[in-house]
């Protein structure tokens, strides 16, 4: 138990940065470059933590407290998601709701902290972020909710029971669910094609532009929190893919493998795709919603179609 907890903490501390490093490495590979070390994001984090701050004179206490609320909310949300060890710290019926709403606290404060600077760039980022999340969340609820209905178990454990409950349909359901969650990583983690984390100061950005005025350890906390958010959704994918009943250490290895795989796929997608025009991002997000409805249709087909 203690060992598992320690493993989870280590993963929360390092995996977000390693994933970001791996994505960068993949992009460098496809671009024919050598690229920075996989550990570079971690070094950046440590460097940022030690740096001095610059804060805007327009801002208030909201701006200072927001990164802290953000990191607490994602760390807290991570307790509801099964990480490397294959079981979550807290497993509760309706964990899905607690998880999503806990993440929302951080988002709420990130939004108002962006608005606190009085900058038009950050206002724009906040407005887009608020808008896109509001379409993503229902799709997430439909996907996970219908999988939960399949097993009649309202904890995240039901994700692991897809194959046991749905037989042949299980494969299809799992594939679509994984695709929905993967699209969610791209949107929530602000990756290409929705957002471009590599550019700075482009009018097309969402997440990056919200934290323009943050510096020093505040910025470090934001990058870490965003990394954890991606890690958490990837963990759900890992939880669907990795079969139950493995040895704990095998499970940890499989988990790390899935994380690496997801990072490589994200990197490949980013190398192969251009950023979508802002006005077409909605359409991209609605792909996710419609796939979520496909998951629901498959689940009802399994339950009532015989």
């Amino acid at each position: 138990m203690i060992l598992r907890l320690i493993a989870d903490i280590i993963i929360l501390l390092f995996a977000p940065f390693l994933m970001a490093g791996l994505i960068k490495k993949t992009k460098a590979f496809w671009g024919g470059r050598k690229g920075p070390s996989v550990f570079q994001p971690l070094y950046d984090f440590i460097k940022l933590w030690k740096k001095d701050y610059v804060i805007s004179k327009t801002t208030s206490g909201v701006f200072r407290i927001a990164p802290v609320v953000m990191i607490v909310s994602v760390l807290f949300a991570s307790m509801f998601i099964p990480l490397a060890s294959g079981s979550s710290v807290v497993s509760v019926a309706g964990g899905l709701i607690v998880f999503a709403y806990t993440l929302s606290i951080g988002k709420f404060f990130a939004l108002i902290s962006a608005m606190d600077t009085g900058s038009s760039f950050e206002g724009m980022g906040a407005s887009r972020e608020a808008c896109f999340t509001s379409i993503v969340e229902p799709a997430f609820f439909i996907t996970v909710g219908s999988i939960m209905a399949l097993s009649g178990n309202y904890t995240f454990d039901s994700l692991r029971e897809i194959f046991a409950n749905a037989g042949h349909y299980g494969i299809l359901i799992a594939i679509f669910a994984v695709v929905v969650l993967f699209l969610m990583i791209l949107i929530e983690g602000s990756r290409v094609p929705v957002d471009d984390p590599a550019t700075h100061l482009e009018l097309t950005m969402i997440h990056e532009v919200m934290i323009l005025d943050n510096s020093g350890s505040d910025l470090a906390l934001y990058t870490w929190a965003n990394g954890i958010k991606m890690l958490l959704i990837s963990s759900l994918i890992a939880f669907i893919i990795i079969p139950a009943g493995l040895n704990e250490w095998v499970n940890v290895l499989a988990y790390l493998g899935v994380m690496a795989l997801i990072s490589v796929i994200i990197g490949t997608v980013e190398s192969g795709m251009a950023r979508i025009r802002m006005s077409h991002v909605f359409e991209f997000i609605f792909i996710m919603s419609s796939l979520a409805l496909v998951v629901f249709a498959l689940v009802t087909a399994k339950m009532f179609g015989g």
Binding site: D52, V92, S120, A126, S127, S134, P138, F141, I142, T300
Partner: protein, 657 residues
Amino acid sequence: MNSFFTGIIILILSGFAVSFVNRNFKILVLSLLNTIAACFCLIPAMKVLVSGKNLISSFDFNSLFGVVNFRIDYLAAFFIVIISVMSVISVIYSRGYLKSYADKNIDAHLVFFPMLVASMLAVVTCQNAIVFLICWEIMSLSSFFLVIFENEKKEVLKAGISYLVFMHFSVIFIMLAFALLSVYSKSFDFSSFSSVLEGHKYLANVVFLLAFIGFGTKAGFVPFHNWLPKAHPAAPSHVSGIMSGVMIKTGLYGILRVISIVGTPSKSVSFIVFIVSLITALYGILYAITQNDIKKLLAYSSIENIGIIGTGLGIGMLGLSYHQSLVAILGFSGGLFHILNHSVFKELLFLSAGSVYTRTHTRNIEKLGGLIKTMPNTAVLFLIASVSICALPPLNGFVGEFLIYLGMFNGLASNNFFTMIVMLFGIACLALVGTMAVLCFTKAFSIIFLGLPRSEHSSNVTEDCESSMILPMSFLAVLIFGIGLFSIVAFSLVLKPVSVFVDVNQYNILSALSLIGFITLYALVFLTMLGLVIFIKIKTSKCKISIQDTWGCGYDRANNKMQYSASSYASPFLSMLTPLFKKVFDIEKPRKLFPESSHFNLQFEDIEEAYLINPLVKYDEWFLSKFEALQSGNIQSYIKYGLIFLIIIIVGSLFIK
């Protein structure tokens, strides 16, 4: 029960009594009297909630209404607690708020305020249909007079009259429902109603739907919600607070009372309630996002929350009709919990909006900004209420919605194809409503309080509102935290009225209780973690902080006009949903080489009002104008009409015999 009536009598008299008091002490005396009255009313309510024994007292009005029973059961006691506490807070707050109306006669206002509270208390306890309707009417009328406080303004009067019309629309349906019941039962007493409906499934449906329209209009269900966004901006803030926080809940009380009369509602009716509520929630929050008038925004958000509560009640009814008591318990307790929560945070939001209004004299949020620096207390209170209304844990708003979600998840498992689809649709809708609420309240909070002042309205503010206003608001904020942190206590309070509908004991509620206990634990751990991280961050950071301009890509002459405005913040989301509202543009483009004036204004009109109500009113006006000739202003012809009418009546009655 006697102390309850003492409380009501003190309330009614207090309004008249303060007319004789010096202006400076009027509201002080009124708040004192109201507090005493509230205590008198709370004692029997608490007694009922603790002991579980209903209190009844009967009056015999002989030929007039027969025997009139006033009864405090769990349901009534629950509402009495909310009404008494929230009304006292409003009265205390009004002292500071009404100071800016120093040259206005407030006597009438102070008569009707306690009258409204007293009538609400009577409504939730009365068991006789006729007396219920009388109290209901007193409630509507006294709130009407409170709404038209600033009656010298034309738009206020207009809003008031529209409110009055809607209330009488609602009372017609309630009357019809009660009339049907009393014709069949040959009695006006609620207790005799339920026995009539046992054999008549069809009658029960009709009665319920009539009552749902009637009470739903009061509560603000779409499509009968139109009075809310008109009456709330017109009314003074403490009145909006009590109307939105408490009075619209009497509509929900009515619906709950009718459910308890009907017993087991039919499936179709439950689905109607559930779906109408979901539409209400979505419609309310969508229009809340479009609004830039802070009180209109809050009014639409009230509609949203009524929708969420209605969703809970709908799930409860579905649970009853499908005989799934766990779903019913979760649905009803979620709905009732949200009633309690909404009365707390919505009142706080209206009161803090009122504080902003007293300092800035504008309700248009586009003209505000940067108030967190000059009004820090109000800002923090508004922030707490906004976080809570978005149902974010660990504050109180989360608990109610969590219970409703759990009800829907349990409904998913009912193994019925149709229920499953509807429930999943409900989950997705509620998730959408939740995220839209985040959008709406981040907009409201950040545009009002953050950034730079957008006009003189907010840059001229020098100090926060006075402590007599901050104090009652802080009490509400403490309640928000308290209910969030000790949700298990609040839940056991809410579970009592639920037992009116479902036998709570037959099902093992321990699992539900443990969940609530979990939320309590959650809240505690979350707050500790928050404190811990802040502590670590302060301890470990030794870095310097330098204060500079906001980064503007090298441009250092940024001004307040370049900030994101409320409309632009909401625009990406709204552009996606264009067909759902009517946009009214008012544009004057800059012309000529040296443009003299130009402006841009965008208003979102309620689609229902624009395409349904306004044409109806227009048609009605056209129709009635045909009879204008009758109003000649000539006394003789009026006497002639009277004579003709009398003859028709007399002759007609001969034929009817």
